[in-house]
Symmetry: none
C-alpha cells in the first residue's frame, strides 16, 4: 500500500503540470515507472487516481488542522493556525494543492460525494472560527469564509518563491488583512 502513495505523488505532479484532462493515463504510468496495464492493478481508472489524491490531501489537511488547533482557545489565534496550516500544506504539497483547487469539479458520483463531504467539513470548521470572531455586521460570516479561501486557494496561480517570500509570509499577510479587515 506504500506503493500507492508513490503513485499518488507522481500522478499529482503530472496532473498539476498538465491538468487532469490533458494528462493521459500513459503520462501517469510513465511518471510512476509502471507499465500502462500495471497501473490498473492499483487503480480502477483515471477517476480513482484523482479521487485518491483529493481524498488523501483533504484528510491530511484536516488532520493537520486538528493537530494545530489542539489546545488553542483564542478565536484569533485559531484562525492564524488555520491559515498557517493551509499555506504550509500548500508549500509542501504544491502539486496536490493545485490539483485540489483546479480539478474540484472533475469527479462525479460517489467520489464527488465523499470529497465534497470533506470539503464541507473543512469549510464548517473555518466558518465556526470566523463566527467566533464576531465579524462586522456588513460582512456575513458565510461570505467572509469564502473570501478567505479565495485568498488562500488562488495562491497557486501566482506564487513565486523568489519574488513573494516564504509561504509563511504570505500566510502572515492574509491573516493580517483578514483579521483586521473583519473587525
Amino acid at each position: 500500500m506504500d506503493r500507492k502513495a508513490a503513485i499518488r505523488r507522481s500522478a499529482a505532479t503530472v496532473f498539476a503540470e498538465q491538468g487532469f484532462d490533458r494528462a493521459s493515463i500513459r503520462d501517469v504510468a510513465k511518471a510512476t515507472g509502471l507499465s500502462l496495464a500495471g497501473l490498473y492493478y492499483y487503480y480502477k481508472g483515471k477517476d480513482e487516481i484523482l479521487f485518491d489524491i483529493q481524498n488523501q490531501a483533504f484528510t491530511t489537511l484536516l488532520e493537520s488542522h486538528a493537530k494545530a488547533l489542539a489546545g488553542v482557545r483564542d478565536a484569533e489565534q485559531k484562525l492564524r493556525c488555520v491559515v498557517d496550516a493551509h499555506l504550509a500544506f500548500f508549500a509542501e504539497h504544491i502539486a496536490e494543492m493545485k490539483v485540489m483547487s483546479r480539478e474540484s469539479e472533475q469527479l462525479g458520483g460517489e467520489y464527488a460525494k465523499q470529497v465534497d463531504e470533506l470539503k464541507r467539513r473543512y469549510v464548517r470548521l473555518v466558518r465556526g472560527i470566523v463566527e467566533e470572531l464576531k465579524p462586522r455586521a456588513d460582512v456575513p460570516a458565510g461570505v467572509a469564509v469564502f473570501l478567505l479561501f479565495g485568498m488562500m486557494n488562488w495562491v497557486y496561480t501566482w506564487y513565486d518563491a523568489k519574488r513573494d517570500g516564504s509561504p509563511a509570509e504570505i500566510a502572515r499577510a492574509a491573516q493580517e488583512i483578514f483579521l483586521k479587515g473583519l473587525r
Copy 2:
C-alpha cells in the same frame, strides 16, 4: 463579425459548464447552432475560440475599469471602483469569468503572450492603486494585490445568488475587508 460575438458567448457557456478540455468542438458547434465544419469557417481551431473569449473579456474588463475610474481621485474610492467593476463584470459574464479564471494556462504561443500582456496590464493597474493606499509595512503591495484577486476570482467556485446576496454585496464585503485590513 456580429456572428463571431454570438459564437463567443455560446462557446463561453459550454467551456464554463464542462471545462475547456472536456468540452468538444462538437459541443460548441451544437451550442452555436452551426455545423461542426461551419464553426471552422469562423475560427481556425479550438484554441482560437478560447483566445477570443479571453481576449475580449479582458479587453472589456479593462475598458470598464477605465470608464469607472475616470474622474476618481481618492485611492480608496478607486479601489472600490475596481472591485465593483470586477464583480459586476463577473455577474454579467459568469461564463466568461469562469473560463478566464480556470482556463488561464491552456493557451500557448502567441495567444498566451497576448492575453498575458492584458493580464499584466490589469494587475499593474490595480497594483498602482494599492500602492497609493500605502499599505502597512508587513504586507507587501505585490502580495496584497494577488490576495485581492484571489478573493475576487475565487467567487465563481462558490457564489450562489440565493444564499450569498447580490454581487454588489460580495463586492462590498471584499472592499471592507481589504481596505480596513490593509490600513
Copy 3:
C-alpha cells in the same frame, strides 16, 4: 476561355508540387487568385481540373508530334523527332509533365476513358515508328516502346538543369542508347 488556360497552369503547378491528392482545391483557388467558389464556376470539380490538364497536355503533345513528323521519311529520323518533341515539351511544361506521369491513375469514368484514348494513340504512334526500325528479334517492339517511354517519363524524378545539361542533351542521350541498342 482564356481564363481556363490560366487556371490550368496554376493548378498544374500546385498538383506538381504537392501531388494531386495532397493538394486541396483551396490551394488551387489561392494559386489562381480566385475564391474557392469562384473556381467552381470554371470547373465542376477537382477531377475535371486534372482531366483538363491531362487532356490538354496530351493533345498538345500529339499536335507537336504531328508537326514535327511532317515530311520526315526516315524511321530513325522520326524517332529522333518524337524524343526531341517529348523532352522539349517536358522542358516547357514541367508541371504538366509531372502531373501526367504521376497522376495517371487518378481519373476514373469518362475522364479516364478519354485520356486513355489519347495515351493509346500516342503509344501507337511511337510503336509504329519502332516497328519501322525493325528492332532485333530478342526485343519485342511492344516492350521496346515502353522502355523508351520509361527513359523519357522518369526524367521528371531526377532531372536537374545544372547537373544534367539541357533537355535536348538528355534527348540526345536517350536517342543514341535506344537507336543503337535496338539495332
Copy 4:
C-alpha cells in the same frame, strides 16, 4: 517483430492499389485484420508505415544486389546482374516496387533522409558499374544511369504478364538496349 512484417506487406498492397494518400489508415487496418487502434500499437503513424515499407524494400534490394554481384568481375556481366535483380525484385514485390517508385516524395524529415541515403547508395552502385563500361563520350554516365532506372522503374505502369512475357524477358530487353546502346 514478425507481426510488423505482415503488416508491412498488407499495407504495401493497399498503398500500391490506392496510392498512399488515397488509402486511409482504416483501409490499412482492415487489410491487416487489426483494429484501427491496434495498428497504432505497431506504428506511430501513416508515415512510419510508408517509411518501413520503403526502408525494408531498399535494404532488401541492396542486399540482393550484393549477393548477385559477389564474384562477378566483368562490368557487362555486373550490369546484367543488377538489372536482373532489380526486375526479379519487382516481380516478387510488385506492391512494394510500386510504392517505392510512386510514393518517393511523400516522406519528410528523418524518414526521407534515411531512405534517400539508401537510394543514393543504390544509384552510386549502379553508376560505378556504368562507368566501368566506359560509355560513349556523348552519353554522360550520370545521365545514362537515370535513363536505365527509368526503363526499370517505369515497368510498373505498363507491365502485363500475359502480354509482355516474364520479368526476366523484360530484363533481357533492357540489358540489350542499354549495353549495346552505350557502346
